[in-house]
């Protein structure tokens, strides 16, 4: 018997010893979900996450979960008692549904870890019912991209208000027989974001659908549409870069992430940007972007908080600024921006001066659908503005009623 047990015991001892040594040498791992473009993934994989691993010995295991799916994913995990995500990045317009689903950790206790240099307005965007559920990560604001060569050719100035925009649109159309203004009319979130901004700058409340500002916006868009480039119907955040770079369109709004893509990847060094134009009432630019949060029941909450702190650091924010042209959440992060990027960051700063947050509501998806439907019927199909907006206003109220009942 002894003959059998002795080698068995030694073997087990050796295996256990090897495993513990192997385990001790391995880094801890946190799982992060995010939705990034190809260029953004590259910077995260090559710069940010290796730096975090080197510094804290924590490896980041990341995968994509789209903003629209995160609620369902977290709900399933929390319900099953198996939360496999430690940190999630989420579009700042999709926060209310996560709070309503009760799947996010209350981070109010950790508010103190947010550096003082983080812009206070961005911190407040993560507060729901006086509780801090989300922390800032990446603010975003749309700026105007334009092709100065074409503007110079036709002796035009970049438009500063709606009247000038219409005038520029007409001139391009008259000169080239085709619209050269781009409006993101592909539908879905890009169209909603742009419409929201335009309605707000006309003094309207987008959720009302038929107030004075909404009517003015849709009437203006109906007129502008015939002078827009036909590819506006395919214009989203990514395709806008392509259309500007390929000189299909000469002017359009987009998030700043497109600047390095157009300038570096497409080698279009002529690109110019500015903050944006005024509506009939005021100049307004919506603040988009993402926040970070921790799912309820995350197994690595301590490591997750460390990762969030790391993202807030000046060093990380400067890398993201320099490499991806992401606006920073900190007011002191600017040192590492390359010279050619400086004017574009000035455009971002200019736009942020007129920044507003969109109303964070549980019925955002329905609002999104209704606004897009109204846009298609009025702007693309040319139906009468007021009756259509009245119809969608009724539908919106019915939907809000259902959520209240629920």
């Amino acid at each position: 018997m002894k003959k059998i047990f002795c080698p068995l015991f030694i073997s087990l001892f050796l295996i256990a010893g090897y495993l513990s040594a192997w385990g001790a040498g391995r880094d801890q791992v946190i799982t992060v979900t995010t939705a990034l473009s190809e260029a953004e993934w590259k910077v995260m994989k090559e710069d940010i996450w290796p730096m975090f691993q080197r510094r804290y010995g924590i490896k980041v295991d990341a995968y994509t979960v789209e903003a629209a799916d995160l609620g369902k994913v977290l709900k399933g995990m929390v319900k099953a008692g198996r939360v496999e995500i430690d940190v999630f990045c989420q579009d700042n317009m999709r926060l209310a549904e996560l709070v309503d689903l009760g799947v996010v950790e209350d981070l109010s206790r950790y508010r103190g870890q947010i550096p003082e240099n983080v812009l206070p307005a961005l911190v407040e965007a993560g507060v729901f019912s006086n509780k801090l559920y989300f922390m800032p990560y990446r603010p975003n604001v749309q700026i105007v991209y334009y092709n100065p060569l074409k503007f110079e050719k036709y002796k035009l100035n970049p438009p500063k208000n709606w009247d000038e925009l219409l005038e520029v649109a007409k001139r391009f159309h008259a000169q080239e027989g085709m619209g050269r203004i781009l409006f993101k009319a592909s539908g879905g979130a890009p169209t909603t974001a742009q419409l929201y901004e335009w309605i707000a700058s006309a003094g309207g409340d987008p959720f009302s659908f038929n107030d004075k500002g909404c009517v003015a916006t849709f009437e203006f868009l109906q007129e502008l549409w015939s002078y827009c480039h036909p590819d506006s119907k395919k214009a989203k955040w990514d395709t806008t870069n392509e259309f500007i770079a390929k000189e299909v369109a000469y002017i359009g709004q987009n998030w700043p992430f497109g600047v390095p893509i157009i300038v570096k990847d497409w080698n279009k060094k002529w690109l110019k940007t500015y903050g944006g134009w005024e509506g009939p009432e005021k100049e307004v630019h919506i603040i988009g972007g993402e926040v970070v949060g921790i799912p309820k029941g995350s197994p690595n909450k301590r490591l997750a908080l460390k990762y969030i702190s790391f993202l807030h650091s000046k060093e990380v924010q400067e890398i993201l600024m320099a490499k991806l042209a992401w606006p920073s959440i900190r007011d002191d992060a600017s040192g590492k921006v390359e010279g050619w990027l400086v004017p574009h960051f000035e455009s971002v700063t200019e736009a942020l001066k007129h920044g507003i947050f969109r109303k964070n509501v549980s019925y955002w998806s329905e609002f999104d659908g209704l606004l897009n439907d109204a846009f298609t019927r009025i702007v693309i199909k040319g139906e009468k503005v007021k009756p259509v907006l009245d119809e969608y206003s009724r539908k919106m109220q019915e939907t809000i009623g259902k959520y209240k009942k629920d």
């Binding site: 629209a68 609620g71 027989g177 085709m178 009319a185 592909s186 539908g187 879905g188 979130a189 480039h229 036909p230 590819d231 119907k233 395919k234 390929k246 299909v248 998806s365 329905e366 999104d368 659908g369 897009n372 439907d373 298609t376 019927r377 693309i380 259902k402 959520y403 009942k405 629920d406």
Partner: protein
């Protein structure tokens, strides 16, 4: 089935079980669940209700998607069959380089639909090759917006789809043509039948099973056309599958999306049943 019989065929049962689980779990169960969800209220989760169907039947984009799907299916299959048959008849003949020509004709089949759609965008974009060609020829004054909506956009989808799948139709029909005995044509020639008569009275009737097969395969396939219109013409010209997709993906509504998908499934089933009933299963014998 008695226990003894079960015991006797335990190996067969064991071998078929994984496949059965796969089909039940990954095909049948999601389909049944989607149908169930289509009758469920989003807010109250009450079942059964027709609220999702009421929504989509009054939604202008669903009506358009329904029409677009029917148009693309009807026109697409007609053209694919006509052109597929023409090409199959050409390739059936003996000529030099037939093998190479056949191989070339089959190339589009190997191209993934996403790649095919992206390539077609290079052709049909407002700044694409087709517009450049038309502008150079002076046929049009300004670039045509092929994705602008209406029949021209639907025809763009049909043409792009045809490029991709006509080889499949051609292949099925060619296989059908190969099964027709040469003696029948010889006999007809001796009887003085011309080319048209031989085609009408021999080729077409004997090709019926192959045509049926091509029609059913393409009928099922074309109704669920998805990636091609999505990439080629964007969101403003929807078919039923892209309608269901946008309801789910953009507007986070799996219930109306399921209703759209259920209707699409019913349309596919009806097409198969109607066609099988119309044509029957009887084969022509000579």
């Amino acid at each position: 089935m008695s226990f003894r019989k079960l015991k006797k065929s335990w190996l067969e049962i064991l071998l078929i079980t994984p496949l059965l689980i796969y089909i039940l779990g990954f095909t049948l169960a999601p389909v049944i669940y989607a149908v169930y969800m289509s009758f469920q209220d989003k807010f109250t989760l009450h079942f059964p209700t027709l609220v999702n169907y009421k929504y989509i039947f009054t939604h202008f984009q669903f009506k358009e998607a329904f029409f677009n799907t029917c148009f693309v299916a009807g026109v697409g299959i007609t053209l694919e069959l006509t052109i597929g048959l023409l090409v199959a008849l050409i390739l059936y003949r003996n000529f030099k380089g037939r093998g190479i020509f056949r191989a070339i004709m089959l190339l589009p089949l190997g191209v993934p639909t996403v790649v095919a759609a992206t390539n077609m965008r290079y052709i049909f974009d407002t700044s694409g090759y087709l517009n450049s060609f038309l502008l150079k020829l002076g046929v049009v004054e300004h670039a045509v917006d092929w994705a602008g909506g209406g029949i021209k956009t639907l025809m763009t989808i049909v043409v792009a789809d045809m490029w991709k799948v006509t080889p499949l139709v051609m292949l099925i029909l060619l296989a059908g043509l190969e099964t027709i005995p040469e003696q029948l044509y010889e006999a007809a020639r001796i009887d003085g039948a011309g080319a048209w008569k031989r085609f009408k009275h021999i080729t077409l009737p004997l090709l019926k099973p192959a045509i049926t097969m091509a029609l059913v395969i393409r009928g099922i396939d074309i109704f669920r056309i998805f990636d091609l219109p999505l990439i080629l013409v964007g969101r403003h010209t929807r078919v039923l599958s892209t309608y269901a997709y946008f309801e789910y993906y953009d507007y986070a509504n799996p219930y109306t999306s399921s209703a759209g998908a259920t209707i699409l499934m019913v349309m596919i089933l009806l097409t198969i049943i109607a066609y099988l009933k119309m044509t029957g299963t009887k084969e022509v014998q000579y």
